[in-house]
Amino acid sequence: MSQWYMLTLVGKDQHGIVAKVTSALYKGGCNLGEASMLRLGGNFTIMLMVNYAGDNKQLYDLLKEVVLELNLHLHIDAIEGHLHQHRDPEVRITVHGADRAGIVAQVTSVLSEAGLNILDLESDVGGSVENPFYIMHIEGIATQGIALLSQALQQLLATQQPDLKVQLEPIETLVM
């Protein structure tokens, strides 16, 4: 009986990590599901759904050699995962402004209260060391309607965040 696991691998970015990790998994009899790999602050990061017939320890042993060779941190969780669970986002929100602490916390708190269920969030710091800016893209489902999200953001900007630039647009998926 196979089981889904969530693998998290983090380490210094270097050439060939994905190829080596996935080859070890493939040779060990694993099947991959959804995955997200990102370079964050110069680090290699990946979260990977892996379907495997063995237990946590056996899965770790499959990757042990590669993980030691590449000096990666590996974390394994057995999960209640399923494929074919995609949900289409209804709204995209882009936020940017001079970088400072608290932008994500404040923006996502008001959005959460207004019914936003986040499906995807990516953020980055650009600019220079002296003048960094923060930029964030959120896609999600407006469980209480898009107008409420818009109002919540307007209120936040008017009262606490006048310098932030925020855009909100519906995502219309054309299914044919």
Partner: protein, 182 residues
Amino acid sequence: MSLLEILTYPDPRLKTISAPVTEFDAKLQAFLTDLENTMRAGPGGVGIAAPQVGRFQRIVLLDVSSKPKIKHHGNLVLINPEITQWEGFEIGREGCMSVPDYTGNVIRAQYLHLMAQDQHGVQHEYDMEGFEARAIQHELDHLDGLLFIDRLVSRRHDLFRRKVYVSIQTQPHLSSEKAIDR
């Protein structure tokens, strides 16, 4: 009413290049009825191409009239369609009855000029834009054995701007109607 079976990816038949229609007979009319019923039964129901149901002929049905406040030509039967002019480009999110459980961003022309025959073989010309233009480009791809997943733009880092976007600061009263209808 009979519904036709939709081929779904990775069925290799979806890569077939469809042949032009030459006979505008009763068989064609019967097929068009079944094809329309199949389109309307689908999740989006704004368009369908004959190869999606395993009939490899250059036939497209289109009806984006359910989308509010857009320019369109209503319910269209487009046989042997050809785009003769394109203008502008726009990124939008697409899904497809032949590609269940997946949607993605695709670049399409914003405006186009289309020539096509109707169900009786009479030639017509259309100027299309926006959703209707996107839909016909998606359906025409089916006739050439292409799916939207052959044209995907990365979901991440898609720092694109639509033609019209809503800035929270400049839209003091974004009503729910405006927000949904765009």
